[in-house]
């Protein structure tokens, strides 16, 4: 049987689905996905729990599914959180080196990072992650690790992701109610980036967009460092809702039409074409204009991408590896072409990388976040176990 200590579980309570990914750290230190469990999500809107009861039921279902598939017992999870309240920003902390010889020690670095963490947040917000970027030693930019260097002043740059405490607690409580412990809460957008970006992608710079049902998360890496992150509370639900209003059809039908006939660009085949709603007993067969459907969807997606592009700002041009789209929205027809057009960068569907496992659906873009969460857990585990090789190299990046 497996060593329970080597099992990590990522749980994402999404707007359309609850998904749990069970990962294992093999004896060789590789990360392997053993199972995925999922369940339809009913108690979540815009990435946040609105009906704790239903959410708990769905979480139980997803966990049970994952346990069965991976043949393990799940006791704790790394929990993904998202929502419009989560924000990321860059901060810096300065520490003067006091020793006589200006020799920078680990303590100096820790102090600088501590100062960087002392951020001015809204009173009800708490910090999710403080992710180390790089250091400045006496105006010398881009120092990876200043320990053992000489200087008068160490400045630590960090990326801080924070969210409203009470709203984070909603997710934590829903999980704890099922007698599962929460190892750590992790921003889902960060987890997705962790899953889909390889080392080279991070080096070249990449923007990961997780286009979910309720919210869209994004994270920008340049020079291997997380530079920007954010959440836009617009997702696939908005597309469906737009279609329901615009085409005057029920929301369920809109969802179904979106999946069957939707597309990010109107396309020549849609001009003047009609699609059938599919008749149900007692109702006459209705037809809707495919061009209208695509146009409504296209306008919404275009706006969403434009909002993200505006939020990320000029740093976007440093993302030379381009755009990585994951989440259910990445399956939209022509969405890659639209992303390339709006961001002016190459785009591709983000798939979980460097993950081995027997599960067939590993490379589906919608599982990026749960796999990323499990991977985050694996990295934390390695960090806690001393002497596992490249722990110090990677694990430190995710120190909270």
């Amino acid at each position: 049987m497996f060593d329970p200590a080597s099992i990590v579980v990522g749980l994402e309570i999404g707007t359309s689905k609850v998904c749990a990914a069970v990962g294992e750290i093999t004896a060789q230190g590789a990360f392997k996905v053993m199972g995925l469990g999922q369940s339809r999500s009913r108690g979540v809107r815009k990435g946040e729990i609105t009906d704790p009861q239903k959410a708990s039921e769905d979480i139980r279902q997803a966990i049970a599914d994952a346990e069965q598939m991976a043949d393990v017992e799940i006791r704790s999870v790394f929990l993904g959180v998202t929502g419009a309240h989560i924000r990321g920003f860059n901060n810096r902390g300065i520490h003067p080196v006091v020793s006589a010889d200006r020799h920078i020690t680990q303590d100096d670095v820790d102090d600088a990072i501590r100062n960087a963490k002392a951020v001015n947040l809204p009173h009800d917000h708490s910090v999710l992650h403080t992710i180390r970027q790089d250091f400045v030693v006496d105006d010398h930019d881009g120092v990876e690790n200043p320990v053992e260097m000489y200087g008068a002043r160490v400045e630590a740059r960090v990326h801080v992701i924070h969210g409203q405490g009470n709203r984070l607690q909603n997710s934590i409580h829903a999980v704890q109610a099922l007698q599962l412990s929460v190892e750590q809460v992790v921003f889902s957008g960060f987890a997705s980036a962790l899953a889909v970006l390889g080392k080279e992608d991070k080096e070249m710079g990449a923007l990961v967009i997780d286009f979910g049902a309720g919210v869209t998360e994004y994270a920008l890496y340049t020079d291997s460092l997380l530079r920007h992150s954010g959440v836009l509370a617009v997702g696939g639900d908005h597309v469906s809702n737009d279609l329901a209003i615009g085409l005057k059809i029920p929301l369920g039908r809109a969802e179904q039409l979106k999946l069957e006939h939707g597309g990010a660009e109107v396309g020549n085949d849609a001009k003047g074409a009609m699609v059938s709603l599919g008749s149900e007993p007692g109702a006459s067969d209705r037809q809707v204009n495919l061009e209208h459907l695509r146009r409504i969807q296209s306008i919404r997606l275009e706006e969403t991408f434009e909002l993200i592009a505006r939020d990320v700002g000029p740093m976007l041009s440093n993302a030379r590896a381009g755009i990585f789209l994951c989440g259910g929205g990445a399956r939209t027809r022509d969405v890659i072409a639209m992303a390339e057009r709006i961001f002016g960068l190459p785009a591709q569907i983000g798939r979980a990388r460097d993950v081995s496992g027997s599960v067939a659906s590993l490379d589906h873009p919608e599982f990026a976040a749960p796999i990323g969460l499990a991977r985050f857990g694996a990295l934390r585990l390695r960090q806690q176990k001393p002497g596992t090789g490249w722990k110090s190299a990677l694990g430190n990046w995710f120190r909270r």
Binding site: A84, I245, G246
Partner: protein
């Protein structure tokens, strides 16, 4: 005065025609008396004043720029003698001349006192002609005192009905309410002067609103959109205050105004026009407070606001408010008839058959003199329904000026787009836009 006396005319006195966009037509004795206050007011230089009456002497004495004497068919140019049917017939007969007087106007105020002959009978006709020539027509009318008797009240209510049907909106100033706002010891002359002043203030306030460059400009178009085709009955209040607590005082006075106070007029109004004129030194916060208060009171209504600065009003605030109630369903264009017989019997006891109500009766032919020409045919007006008659009769027998209580049917507000799936979630507002509202709606992209 004397030279006017000699210039008594049958037709329009001056050779020229009115040319201004805004015209005030005073119909009948009360209207002309009220308009005298407008004559010689330099601020109203852009308004053509037109006096119209069946009494030749009265027309002659008026200082209005344009005067027109209606021929009621009575010998020696006497008035209609309190018979609305005579006034109506006279106006119909001379509709051609009236039309010429109103040609080209953008807005016509029909200023009249309801209850007697000419105003009650002719004003709806004038209003109808003005509307036919494309103007926005606002009736401004006094209603008689209770003590003037049931007959006059009945006439006034019937006249008000037809004026409402003909004009885009009617502002009423019930004299009884004027009386209630004055001290008991007020001399009679002053009571009438006050009523007249209120009428005129309404016109003057609106005129200034439309012409004076405002900070929040209230233009003719917005007034027109607010009133056009409503056929509503409106109430009007104009109050001013100065001093330290002017903003609060002006709101208190406005709400205590006799035309607004007893009924929850503002709460039930569907269109409210409110204009604040402030002295140059009044902070905007006070104007804002006044407007916000009115908005709060009239939360069901479509509120149009205007703000302007009047240097003459240093340190003071003046609020002019027009609230119109009901009347969203256009009433039939034609006026209810004035029964000659109604002068002898209350309406609810009118049990004559339709056959007895001859056309001649309607026209008042039986009482008219020989001056009636072929042009005097009045299009037969529709019968009052039993309901209307009851309501009219009930009004004349009870409190003379009780406003007709309408069953208000609430309407769905179709402008609000349902938030659909996001009904119970926090709105996603970014850059002032609610992202939950479909993008194509926010960007106004038409499908088709």
């Amino acid at each position: 005065m004397e030279d006017h006396e000699s210039a008594v005319v049958q037709e329009t006195e001056t050779g020229t025609r009115p040319t201004q966009d805004f015209r005030v037509v005073a119909v009948g004795r009360a209207g002309i008396a009220a308009m005298e206050q407008l004559c010689g007011d330099a601020t109203l230089s852009g308004v053509d004043l037109i006096a119209m009456h069946t009494d030749r002497d009265m027309v002659g004495r008026s200082r209005a720029t344009f005067r027109h004497c209606l021929n009621a068919g009575q010998p020696r140019g006497l008035g209609a003698g309190g018979d609305p049917s005579l006034g109506q017939a006279a106006a119909e007969r001379e509709s051609g001349e009236i039309r010429q007087l109103l040609q080209g106007a953008r807005m016509v105020f029909v200023l009249t006192g309801l209850g007697a002959g000419t105003g009650t009978g002719a004003a709806p006709v004038v209003a109808r002609i003005a509307r036919e020539s494309g103007a926005l027509v606002l009736g401004v009318a006094t209603l008689p005192f209770h003590c003037e008797g049931r007959l006059r009240s009945g006439h006034a209510q019937a006249g008000l009905q037809s004026l409402k049907a003909a004009a885009d909106a009617v502002i009423t100033v019930p004299n009884q309410r004027v009386l209630s706002m004055l001290d008991r010891n007020t001399p009679a002359v002053e009571v009438f002067a006050t009523a007249n002043r209120l009428l005129v203030d309404g016109i003057r306030g609106l005129w200034q609103l439309l012409t004076r460059p405002g900070l929040i400009q209230l233009d003719f178009a917005s007034l027109e959109r607010l009133l056009r085709g409503r056929h509503s009955e409106s109430v009007f209040a104009s109050v001013s205050a100065s001093g330290d607590h002017r903003a609060r005082e002006v709101v208190e006075r406005l709400l205590a105004s006799p035309f607004l106070s007893p009924d929850p007029v503002l709460a039930s109004a569907d269109a409210v026009l409110v204009a604040v004129t402030a002295g140059p030194d009044v902070p905007f916060a006070e104007i804002e407070m006044v407007l916000a208060h009115v908005q709060r009171q009239a939360d069901q209504a479509q509120v149009v606001t205007g703000t302007s600065v009047d240097p003459a009003l240093a340190g003071g605030l003046r609020v002019t408010l027009v609230a119109s109630i009901g009347g969203s369903a256009p009433l039939p264009e034609a006026a209810p008839r004035f029964d000659a017989a109604a002068s002898s019997m209350p309406m609810e006891t009118d049990r004559r058959t339709d056959a007895e109500r001859s056309v001649g009766d309607v026209l008042g032919l039986g009482t008219s003199g020989g001056g009636r020409s072929s042009g005097g045919l009045v299009p037969p007006a529709p019968e009052l329904t039993a309901e209307q008659r009851d309501s009219l009769g009930g009004r004349s027998s009870g409190r003379g000026t009780v406003r007709k209580k309408k069953v208000v049917q609430s309407m769905f507000n179709f402008d609000v787009v349902s938030r659909g799936r996001f009904e119970k979630t926090e709105a996603t507002v970014m850059n002032g836009q609610d992202l939950d509202v479909p993008t194509f709606l926010r960007r106004g992209i038409a499908l088709n």
